[in-house]
Symmetry: C2
Subunit: 80 residues, 2 copies
Amino acid sequence: MKARVHVTLKSGVLDPQGKAIEHALTQLGFEGVDSVRAGKVIDLELSDTDEASARERVDAMCQQLLANTVIETYSIELSA
Amino acid sequence: MKARVHVTLKSGVLDPQGKAIEHALTQLGFEGVDSVRAGKVIDLELSDTDEASARERVDAMCQQLLANTVIETYSIELSA
């Protein structure tokens, strides 16, 4: 089973990387680009075959390692 | 219109960040985790209303700034 985890900064948390990208895009001549936010995506392959247990395990991985839940949120997508 | 861009290392390109995550997960007791790959996700808000033109513009942003196409691939998702 494959899992894709998105880790993004909570709204309200300052995102200097996003701001830098937004500024660079404007400098390159791309107009009308707004609210740029940068995050991480982590792809994993799991030996689990049951979706519910896989989701539970990936959730534990996010809590313990992948995300800093003080300032970040995460979302989990599973596919066969 | 909102755009989400995934930038990931091409398969075959060494991913030390992914390897480090995989190692750390194993150390934490998560078994059966394999092929961990780390990438970036960039969320943008665009003033475009036409999907085709938005996709073309985001593609140009990826080529010029967001991705290093020598070692990275990117994918674009658009939503209203």
